[in-house]
Symmetry: C2
Subunit: 247 residues, 2 copies
C-alpha cells in the first residue's frame, strides 16, 4: 500500500482577509490534490506580515509532505513572501541569477524598464528551484517541501500544473456519492452505524438546504475499491429503506 | 482612539479540503468584519478531526478578540464541533435543556420523529449561550470568545447577523481605492516610498491580469480620515504622473 501523502496550503494576503478579493485558489488546489490522491489536511489564510507567514510555514512544513503557498510574490512592497520563506528556512533571500536574466530579457524584449520593483521578483531564497510561470515569466519557487506560487488564479493554476508532475502522489482516495432526499436528522443515526461497520472508510454527510427543505449528499471515501463498493451499497440500502418507509 | 479588535475564523469540514464544497463563508465573514471595523487576521480550514479542531480553537482564541467557526454542528456522526469545542474549553458537552426543548417542539409540530441524531444538535458545551438559528432551529452557540455557527451559507449568514450586534466593534478601518492602469512592476518602487511616508496606513496593491496585460487596484487603508485622504492623494498623484509620462 502506498504511503499517505498529506499537504497544507497557506494563502497569503490581506486582500482575502479584508474581503476585497474572494479566494478562488483553495477550491482549485483541493480539487487537484483530491484528483491525484494527496490529502489536503489544512489551509491557513494569513496576512501580509512576516511573522504570520514564517510561523505558518514552519508549523506546516514540519507536519505535511507538501506545503503550497499562494500570493505575495509580485514586485510591490507588500509582496514579502520570498523574504518570509527565506527567513523560515534560515537562508538569505538574494537575486537568483537565472530569474534575473529571464526577467531582464522579458522586459527588454518589450521595451519596458527593468525597474527596482520588477527586479524584486528575481529575489529568491538561496537554493530554491524555479516553478515556471508561463503567463508572466516571474517564477514561483520550491524550497524543501514548500511550493511558492502566485495569487492571481490563472497564474497559480498554470504554476500548479507545472508542479504536479514532480509530486509523489498517494494512493488515490476513491469516492462515491449517494443522493439522499432526507435531512441529516433522519439519517444521522443509521449513517453513524454504517461508519462504525466500515472503519476504513470516511463517510461524509453534506447538508443542503433549498427552498425550505433539507437534503443531503452522502459521500463515501476509501482507498480500496472493494471497501468503497461495500460501504456505498450499505448507504444506498439505508436511503432506499427510508424512502420505502416514507411511501 | 478605540481598541483594535481582531478576529480569526475556523472553517471545519473535510468537504472543503476535498474540494467537494467550495467555501463561501470566508468571503462573507471577511466582508462583515471589515464593515464593522474588526480586523480578520487569520483563517484556518481544518478537517473533521477532534485534535485539529481543538488545536486551532485554543491557538486562536488566546490570540484574538473573537473566533468564529463554521461547520460541523449538524446531527451526523461527522459533526463533532460541539464536542471538540467543549474539549478545548475543558467543560462537559451535554444536553442543553432549552435547545432540547426547542428542537423537540420543532419536530413535534411537524410530525417528525425526534431521533437520536436530531437530539445531538441539543448537545452544547456547558455554559454556552445560544446563537439563534432562524432557518432550522438548531442553535449555534457562544462560549468565551468563540462563536460556533453552521456551515450551510444561508444559515451561517443568518446566525452571524444575530451575533454582530453583540460584538465590541473596533475603530473602523477606512479605505480608498485608486485604479491604476499600470502593472506592479511599474509602480512597485514609488508605491513603497509612499508607504514609508505614511506609516499609519496600510497600502495594498492587488494585481489584476486580463487579456494579456496587468493593471492594479491600489487600496489605502487608515483609521483616520485625514491620513487616508493624504495618502490616497499621494497615490493618485503617482498614478497621474506615470500616466503623463506615458503620453
Amino acid at each position: 500500500m502506498a504511503d499517505i501523502v498529506t499537504a497544507a496550503m497557506i494563502v497569503i494576503g490581506d486582500e482575502i482577509l479584508s474581503g476585497r478579493t474572494k479566494d478562488q485558489n483553495i477550491g482549485h488546489l483541493a480539487d487537484v490534490m483530491t484528483a491525484i490522491g494527496v490529502d489536503l489536511k489544512e489551509v491557513r489564510v494569513v496576512s501580509d506580515e512576516e511573522d504570520a507567514i514564517v510561523d505558518a510555514v514552519n508549523a506546516l512544513r514540519a507536519r505535511h509532505t507538501y506545503v503550497f503557498t499562494t500570493g505575495g510574490i509580485g514586485p510591490t512592497h507588500d509582496d514579502i513572501t520570498a523574504e518570509s520563506i527565506s527567513k523560515a528556512f534560515g537562508v538569505p533571500c538574494e537575486y537568483d541569477e537565472r530569474a534575473y536574466g529571464m526577467l531582464e530579457a522579458h522586459y527588454a524584449a518589450r521595451g519596458l524598464e527593468f525597474t527596482e520593483a520588477r527586479k524584486r521578483m528575481a529575489r529568491l531564497p538561496r537554493g530554491a528551484d524555479h516553478i515556471d510561470n508561463p503567463v508572466s515569466v516571474a517564477p514561483g519557487f520550491r524550497i524543501g517541501n514548500v511550493h511558492v506560487m502566485a495569487g492571481v488564479p490563472s497564474i497559480f493554476q498554470a504554476m500548479l500544473d507545472n508542479v504536479v508532475p514532480s509530486l509523489k502522489v498517494g494512493q488515490k482516495l476513491l469516492s462515491a456519492t449517494v443522493h439522499c432526499p432526507f435531512g441529516e436528522g433522519v439519517i444521522g443515526g443509521p449513517l453513524a452505524e454504517i461508519q462504525k461497520s466500515y472503519p476504513d472508510t470516511i463517510i461524509g454527510s453534506y447538508p443542503k438546504y433549498l427552498d425550505g427543505s433539507f437534503w443531503t449528499e452522502l459521500v463515501v471515501r476509501a482507498r480500496s475499491q472493494e471497501t468503497l463498493e461495500q460501504a456505498t451499497a450499505s448507504v444506498q440500502a439505508m436511503v432506499d429503506g427510508l424512502a420505502t418507509r416514507q411511501l
